[in-house]
Amino acid sequence: MTLLDVDTLRKDFPILERSVRGDRRLVYLDSGATSQKPYAVLNAERDFYELHNAAVHRGNHQLAEEATDAYEQARATVAGFIGAAADEVVFTRNATEALNMVAYAFSNATLDGGPDRFTLRPGDEILITEMEHHANLVPWQQVAKRTGATLRWFGVTDDGRLDLDPDLITERTRIVAVTHQSNVLGTINPIARIAQMAHAVGAIVVVDACQSVPHMAVDVGDLGADFVAFSGHKMLGPTGIGCLWARADLLAEMPPMLTGGSMIEQVFMDHSTFAPPPQRFEAGVPNIAQAVGLDAACRYLDAVGLQAIHDHEVHLTGLAIEGLNDIAGIRIIGPADLVDRGAAVSFVADGVHPHDLGQVLDDSGVAVRVGHHCAWPLHRRFSIPATTRASFYLYNDEDDVADLLAGTRRALEFFA
């Protein structure tokens, strides 16, 4: 295992030097919600605005050329980061928009007689899971409502794994939408196996990779999915930029969600034709500086090494699970072992509501997330309204885990 030189890495993240709640050291354990940004990303965005700012794909002045080059270079970098071809990468605002783009393709095609692969009929089934983030759940409920398709889902086992009941994948299954890594449980799902089962019946596989792409090497070729969505802000990049990857043959047929400028081929008063992908899916002036920032984030992560980052996070996760299990009254929601498990550790405490636990942790300088983490049905599955979640990234260290454990003990004592 390659150990990260966290002390050196931390110097790249200016926010980690500030204190909170008076003079407490900031212990940032909420990277699952959004990550902090290194100078490399901040400077890339700043440089773009200072030197190259212009609208992309419009105009032929020098700045427009430079801006377009920077934006398309970002696409190439992100594509390389996930083992894809550049024209298979669509920039979106975030993963939520990327997933909606796929969902709307099905709704729109069904409503206006679009391509067969995107058309749903009553009786068709959309298969999701009980551990989905609302972003990969609510859009499919909407699609089912609009098209008459039926929504089904894989359940979750008591130890936080997917209950992969093979009977759920049938000839009726048209879409299988599943998260690569649960943002609550930390569970990493066997996408390749699910994709194999889905493809055997001709279904399309949509993967929410929000919590995997930032934390481990993901190659879309190996993954075996048809669509992959993720957000830049969770992988050291800026807010406002995300990505939808799709297989080229699917993108070629897929109808757009947003229409308007920059996504057309020809426009007449009564009809228009659309540009080929990825432009077809990027209506309006995009988030250019943010794409440039994401380019820098990918390079930064590559330079550190995704395998080393993943190993480091698994190490911290192991320490956190071990330490939390040693505290009486704490129960971890999610796998107890480190097999196929990422760096989100959610837990409940006897007699202390997560909101109160989070408040005491905040008072100790420890930033965690409390609530249902946009996975309300998953919490209902475990008969709890909310959890406290600590999530780790490359800039966290063993001291951070120790502070989490100390703060948790403090909370239990305070409310005892």
Binding site: H355, D356, D363, P385, A386, F414
Partner: protein
Amino acid sequence: MNMETLYQEIILDHYRNPRGKGLREPFGAQVHHVNPTCGDEITLRVQVDEGVIQDISYDATGCSISQAATSVMYEQLVGQPLDQVWPVVEEFVRLIEGRGKVEPNEDVLGDGIAFAGVASFPARVKCALLGWMAFKDATLQALGKDFT
């Protein structure tokens, strides 16, 4: 603003020993409110008779702040005539939403002033108001009016 200022002894006491908890009959209206950011829920019933709050009964899951705020509300409002209830509700909401800039009025709020610290923690404002908003909704429904 530190944690100890937020978690006044009165709040911890009401959290550990909630007053009036449990659903009872009779009631004029029942409502169910949720806090969508954290999943906390309350089912609350109000019985109004001859212009007086006869009972507030409730079943809730939530943090110490939301549980204690509902418990304090029960103590403050049950047995009070409506014309004295509304000023208390109004003053409590004003205090909690006051971002820490509203001077708490003990004459009106009684134990409710213990929640003054909540106003400095924006993430907890909805916790403190969950039960109070449910009460307002239920009471207006019991009186045949719309919740605004």
